[in-house]
């Protein structure tokens, strides 16, 4: 998994909790990398799962809620770093439709070894869309967080109902029903 996810996660922990909490979970997680993350590197996604679990233990917040919050946070950071992706995109649903065929392709150009998830969109109407997520990583909750982060960035309210699908394990595949209500 790309290093930026890890550095951003640690940033979030330091920002939302504290530097002490960050130190604590790193200590607790006992990671192979020792937590010396750089956005240029690539690390096992097990480490981020491990960190989230530790964060839950330390903070008492549910893992799902943490992942969701991280998703929202991550989207905001992406938007800051890659503002050019948002040019001429009118709304969140339109942006999500671009992710698979545009953004993931750009990612692959920069990092040929990257393996982003498969996203396919089925636009039902102007305000309604089905989004299918499939990955070898169990990050459907992260995807949901990203969706919400996206809606927040566009100042929209999107109702997200998630239907989990078996995939290759829990959290690896899900269908999201998105309805823009405002």
């Amino acid at each position: 998994m790309k290093g930026i996810i890890f550095t951003e996660f640690m940033e979030m922990v330091e920002d939302r909790f504290s530097e002490d909490v960050a130190e604590e979970i790193l200590e607790l997680a006992d990671l192979p990398s020792g937590g010396s993350y750089t956005s240029l590197g690539t690390y096992s996604h097990a480490e981020v799962l491990n960190l989230v679990t530790c964060l839950s233990k330390v903070s008492g917040v549910r893992v799902e809620d943490l992942v969701l919050a991280f998703g929202e946070y991550l989207f905001g950071r992406f938007a800051d770093v890659h503002a050019d992706f948002f040019e001429n995109v009118p709304g969140s649903l339109d942006f999500m439709m671009k992710v698979e065929d545009y953004i993931h392709i750009e990612v692959q150009k920069l990092y040929p070894e990257a393996t982003p998830p498969k996203l396919s969109c089925d636009r039902i109407n102007e305000n309604e869309m089905m989004l299918h997520y499939a990955s070898h990583r169990p990050f459907a909750p992260l995807a949901k967080g990203l969706i919400q982060g996206c809606a927040a960035w566009f100042n929209e309210t999107i109702e997200v109902s998630q239907e989990d699908l078996p995939g290759t394990g829990p959290g690896t595949e899900a269908r999201f029903h998105l309805v823009k209500v405002a």
Partner: protein
């Protein structure tokens, strides 16, 4: 956070920085190598381009060479083409000259033959009674040979036309009796010479007028009868039978057509030769030692002509029994253009075969005979005078006009077409332009074989048109009509 934690944090960050630096270095190195690779690739591409360019240049040169060669070849072809075109033009000219030459020769041959035949006819009549049987026989041979020559000329002319696809038919209304008279005239002497019984039998229900090509019909019948004569031994019979016959049209309908049967009691033609004889230059007996002469053109042309007239030429024959050649003409041959006009001419004459001369049937009328060929003038005037006509002679159109100015008593003009000083057309024009001569009957007489000449003559105001050599009884028949007998 205590100092220990800060130290850890510092160590971790340092480690992360080093990892990042290492990754960046690796990337840089990778980029360097990539760059090197790209340079090599670019160089090799450049070399490839160079090689390709020189290759293309070389190809270009060879293409140019090819093009130049092609151009040269093209020029050569054009030249050859031009030469061929010139040759074709030349050939066309030669062919045209040949046709003209043939036409001229035919004309030049017809004129003397005409006088020869007319004079022979006159002599055969033996009106002074001073010729021996032997003399008469010789004269009939002269006549028949002249006639044969004429047919050969016509066959050769027709063959050259058939080869050039120029054989054409010119259909018109004509009197059946004209055909009958001219055939009788022509073949009676021959029948006497060959000691054959020749007769023409006409069915009762035949019309007076028929509609077909006069010249071609006569030509086919002449050919058939000559053949019958040639292949029938002495004391044999040759009959021309004219009748109406059933004509089967393409659908189931039947109609009436005209049929001419030439029936002989000759040597006959074996089954396997019955088609061959209709081919050009082919005869039933084609060997050099053959018993019977001929050019082998007659039947081929005859059949072609029969087809051109819309009809057919058929043969039924049995060896040693005889042959029947049947010329059948389509129902159109019985449809005349202007039936009412012809009512004036309806005659109910009985035709007597056997060459008995008719009584003098003219009443001292004066004929102005215009012809530059003195032999012809002589022969014709002998014939006409014998029939009780006055004949005055003129050598060309201008002389004829002078005579018409001096002597108003001319009843009919009989004029040649081709003459020096003033030709027949011009003289005809002058005659028709004069009020007092407007009604004077003018009969054109010419050796020309061209069908358009008749049209031109009639358009210029000729009352009648006869082509040389003219058969005696046909000429008299026509003159009688114009002089009101």
């Amino acid at each position: 956070m205590d100092a220990e934690a800060w130290k850890k944090r510092y160590q971790r960050e340092k480690k992360a920085r080093k990892a990042a630096e290492r990754i960046a270095e690796d990337k840089t190195r990778e980029i360097f190598y990539r760059n090197q690779e790209l340079t090599v690739l670019a160089e090799s591409l450049e070399e490839q381009v160079k090689a390709r360019t020189s290759e293309l240049e070389q190809k270009n040169v060879s293409l140019k060479e090819n093009r130049d060669e092609l151009k040269k070849k093209q020029a050569m072809l054009q030249e050859a083409n031009k030469a061929l075109e010139e040759k074709a033009l030349e050939l066309e000219k030669v062919s045209q000259y040949k046709s003209e030459f043939l036409a001229n020769v035919s004309h030049e041959l017809r004129t003397p033959l005409n006088s020869l035949m007319i004079l022979a006819t006159l002599l055969l009549e033996n009106s002074d009674g001073n010729l021996t049987e032997e003399d008469l026989h010789s004269i009939s041979i002269i006549y028949n040979n002249a006639n044969e020559l004429l047919e050969i000329i016509e066959d050769i002319l027709d063959m050259s036309k058939a080869e050039a696809g120029e054989l054409s038919v010119h259909e018109e209304d004509l009197r059946l009796s004209d055909i009958r008279l001219s055939l009788k005239d022509q073949f009676h002497p021959l029948a006497m010479e060959k000691k054959l019984n020749f007769s023409i039998e006409c069915a009762d229900d035949l019309p007076e007028w028929v509609h077909t090509d006069r010249k071609r019909l006569k030509q086919v019948l002449k050919n058939l009868i000559s053949n019958a004569f040639k292949f029938t031994p002495e004391e044999g019979n040759v009959v021309l039978s004219i009748s109406k016959s059933v004509w089967n049209t393409d659908d189931q309908y039947t109609s009436e057509g005209l049929r001419f049967d030439v029936i002989d009691t000759g040597i006959g033609i074996p089954k396997e030769k019955q088609e061959t004889i209709f081919q050009m230059f082919k005869q039933a007996d084609g060997s050099t030692s053959r018993q019977y002469g001929g050019t082998g053109l007659g039947l081929a042309i005859s059949r072609k002509l029969a087809h051109l007239m819309g009809g057919d030429l058929r043969l039924e024959s049995e060896v040693d029994q005889g042959s029947t050649f049947s010329l059948v003409l389509p129902p159109e041959a019985l449809l005349t253009d202007e039936p009412l006009d012809h009512l004036d001419h309806v005659e109910n004459e009985f035709f007597l075969d056997g060459g008995k001369e008719e009584e003098k049937s003219f009443d001292n009328e004066t004929i102005l005979l215009v012809d530059d060929d003195l032999r012809n003038s002589f022969a014709l005037s002998c014939l006409l005078q014998k029939q009780g006509l006055n004949v005055v002679l003129a050598e060309d159109g201008s002389q004829a006009m002078e005579m018409l100015n001096e002597d108003a008593s001319v009843d009919l003009v009989l004029m040649d077409l081709m003459m020096p000083t003033m030709d027949g057309y011009e003289a005809l024009g002058q005659i028709r332009s004069r009020v007092d001569l407007r009604m004077l009957p003018v009969v054109m007489l010419t050796a020309s074989a061209a069908p358009e000449d008749e049209r031109k003559c009639r358009a210029a105001g000729a009352d009648d048109y006869l082509s040389k050599p003219v058969e005696t009884s046909l000429l008299l028949d026509h003159l009688k009509r114009w002089l009101g007998h």
